[in-house]
């Protein structure tokens, strides 16, 4: 499907071609038919109404929730429950039948009502909980609510409901894991938080597939990484290297799979972006000269009841990652270190191995308080420069500016961090500057050679 933007541009161009006599009216008509020029305005309007109607649904939902919180005593709780239950069923049922209709406008209204139904479910849950003065935590309510909404989202394949579901579960996850970290016996909610990575894989990723929504996939990816890393951190350093290496490895391996049933091409750029962002995040946060404070306690804190659950998830995620990378194996011979993209499977694999390996060595073999941060800085700057180069080579503005931002952030942070004499700073800056200029020249030479592409020559040049 061509993008809206492209169609707009094409329409503009085609009109000027027609005016200039490059094409005749018939050809313009055929282009207009093929790219549906007449729908462009309608589509824009209809997107606008969708946003308005959905916003209305969300506001009404918030109104209902606040009404419950106000605990208004003029109506008894029973009456309120009857009204809210009626509203819940009425809104959902009306929404469903409107949504099934073939008319576009009705369909939209139906979708908004179903979204409202998802919000009213939360209002009802809080009302029944309030009726009996339950002292359970707020996050428990969020998790139950999120579970309810996901079932509906999964069954009807509705993007808006799936976003609501992931946002609810995600905002329930953080307090649940924090609270669970202090608890000594695990409730079902703590278990949900501990198994969040697997829950994302078996519930929210399929949800993204069913709804075909990129945003759902992005939210699921974010929740997966956050929960995977968050859960590992509760174990006081047990297998903490995997928090750095595994999520980006998983996303990257997904993003470079060839077309298969479980790979949606639209999701792959997102997975790649997530992988790069995660790498940037971990390289940056470990690039500080503070490695002497990273050390394991003499008794590693593998809390047994917790550890079991987290280790299970770890096993599942590791197996999945390894399986995806093994599927890439037959592609590996076709990789060489210098391709059109600097960020390719080979470099990513090397970066992740170096990152994980360095941290592992520091924590468990020999403390490398000086070498560690230096290696991470090298990784950080390599990632930034590779992104800038890819951005230029592929004309991707986002990649270019992302890399640029990372580079500037890295340099500024190092400048502020290195609390040395100005003279040293001057030398460091000059060295960096000369390095960047040399890198530029080197790339320039390679790009010029790229104009006369000969794969074997490229390989030799850069091996």
């Amino acid at each position: 499907m061509t993008s809206e933007k492209f169609r707009r541009q094409l329409r503009q161009e085609a009109e000027s071609w027609w005016n200039e006599g490059l094409i005749d009216a018939q050809l313009y008509g055929r282009l207009a038919d093929r790219y549906q020029f007449k729908d462009i305005e309608t589509n824009a309007r209809s997107t606008f109404t969708t946003i308005l109607i959905s916003l209305g649904g969300i506001l009404v939902g918030l109104g209902v929730i606040t009404f419950v919180a106000a605990n208004w005593t003029v109506w008894t709780r029973e009456l309120k429950l009857a009204i809210l239950l009626g509203l819940f069923l009425g809104v959902n049922i009306t929404g469903f039948y409107l949504w099934r209709s073939r008319q576009r406008g009705t369909r939209k209204l139906g979708a908004a009502l179903l979204l409202l139904g998802g919000l009213i479910l939360g209002a009802n849950l809080s009302l029944v909980s309030q009726m009996f003065h339950q002292s359970g935590n707020f996050y428990e309510l969020l998790l139950v609510w999120g579970a309810g909404v996901s079932v509906m989202a999964l069954s009807l394949a509705m993007p808006a409901l799936s976003w609501l579901a992931i946002l609810l579960v995600g905002s329930g996850y953080v307090p649940a894991i924090t609270n669970g970290n202090m608890a000594s016996d695990l409730t079902v909610y703590h278990l949900a938080a501990l198994h969040m990575p697997v829950i994302v894989l078996v519930l929210f990723v399929p949800l993204a597939y069913r709804t075909q929504s990129k945003f759902t996939f992005l939210l699921a990816g974010l929740l997966f990484s956050a929960s995977f890393i968050g859960n590992l951190f509760t174990l006081d350093g047990w297998a903490v290297e995997l928090a750095i290496a595994l999520p980006p490895a998983l996303f990257w391996a997904y993003s470079v799979q060839s077309r298969q049933r479980f790979v949606v091409p639209e999701f792959q750029p997102l997975a790649r972006a997530l992988a790069v962002l995660l790498m940037a995040g971990s390289f940056y946060s470990l690039s500080f000269n503070a490695w002497m404070s990273f050390e394991l306690d003499s008794s590693p804190g593998f809390k047994l009841p917790w550890g079991r659950h987290i280790a299970f998830d770890l096993l599942v995620c590791c197996a999945l990652t390894i399986w995806l990378w093994l599927k890439l194996r037959h592609q590996l011979p076709r990789f060489n270190l210098f391709q059109t993209r600097s960020l390719n499977t080979g470099t990513v694999a090397v970066m992740l191995l170096v990152a994980g390996g360095t941290f592992y060595t520091h924590l468990r073999l020999v403390p490398i308080e000086v070498l560690g941060p230096i290696l991470y800085n090298v990784l950080l700057f390599f990632l930034a420069i590779a992104a800038i180069r890819d951005g230029l080579a592929l004309g991707s503005r986002r990649t270019f500016w992302g890399g640029m931002l990372l580079l500037v952030l890295g340099i500024v942070t190092r400048m502020l961090e290195l609390d040395t004499e100005l003279l040293t700073k001057a030398i460091v800056f000059s060295a960096c500057g000369i390095g960047v200029i040399l890198a530029g020249l080197w790339f320039e030479r390679n790009i010029q050679q790229d104009d006369t592409p000969a794969p074997t020559q490229l390989q030799e040049e850069n091996s």
Binding site: M1, N71, G122, Q130, V256, P453
Partner: protein, 219 residues
């Protein structure tokens, strides 16, 4: 270099479409809506199920209290209640308390039961009730309760005790007034702030109403 050999490149060539596709009309079956709706309704029943059972079948008891005042985003304003039997020091003085609390002092989490008895002096209807008296503490669920006794299950977690009776939601418009009254009563006559609770035969309690001096609040 042949672009086909670069698996990292995204599929940049969209397939040309000869016919614009009409919006994809999914054939949604009825059950795809009714089944999740039924599951959501089940959740609505499951969340309060146990409390509803306790409310219907539980034994009413009265507990002595003390409060603060927070806000919950979804459920509104509530009182955080703490009870006489929420203090480990108080429970330790009871028969069995030494054993449960001294032996398990190093554990951060365990459950126990407080056995309560109705007060000796009967109270006239309409008057604030007297709080029940804690008679002993037990590590396991007591089987030998007398007819008028009730066992309330408590949770010891990280050096504090919870009975699941710590929250009482109240209307926004009466919150200030009730809180002022409670503050005043707490200073003058702390004995007369009590909570009516229903307890089922497994020791699970649900707060029913507040008695502040001679006024009964039930929301």
């Amino acid at each position: 270099m042949n672009p086909d050999t670069q698996p990292t490149l995204p599929a940049t060539q969209p397939q040309p479409q000869l016919e614009p596709q009409p919006p994809r009309q999914r054939r949604v079956r009825q059950w795809q809506f009714w089944l999740p709706l039924a599951l959501q309704a089940l959740l609505l029943l499951a969340v309060p199920a146990r409390d509803a059972y306790t409310m219907a079948n539980g034994t009413p008891i009265v507990l002595q209290t003390a409060p603060v005042d927070p806000y919950d985003l979804l459920r509104g304003y509530y009182q955080t209640l703490s009870y006489e039997i929420s203090a480990p020091a108080f429970l330790q003085e009871l028969p069995g308390g030494q054993q449960v609390f001294a032996e398990w002092r190093n554990k951060t989490a365990f459950d126990f039961y407080v056995i309560l008895e109705p007060p000796q002096t009967p109270v006239a209807p309409g008057q604030p009730p007297q709080p029940w008296v804690a008679v002993r503490v037990s590590a396991d669920k007591p089987e030998d309760l007398r007819a008028n006794q009730v066992a309330l299950r408590g949770e010891y977690r990280n050096w504090s005790i919870r009975y699941g009776l710590e929250t009482y939601y109240m209307p926004e418009d009466q919150r200030e007034e009730i809180n002022d009254e409670i503050r005043q009563i707490q200073q003058e006559n702390p004995e007369s702030f009590v909570v009516n609770v229903k307890v089922d035969d497994r020791g699970h309690g649900v707060p029913v109403s507040l008695w502040v001096s001679d006024r009964n609040y039930q929301f």
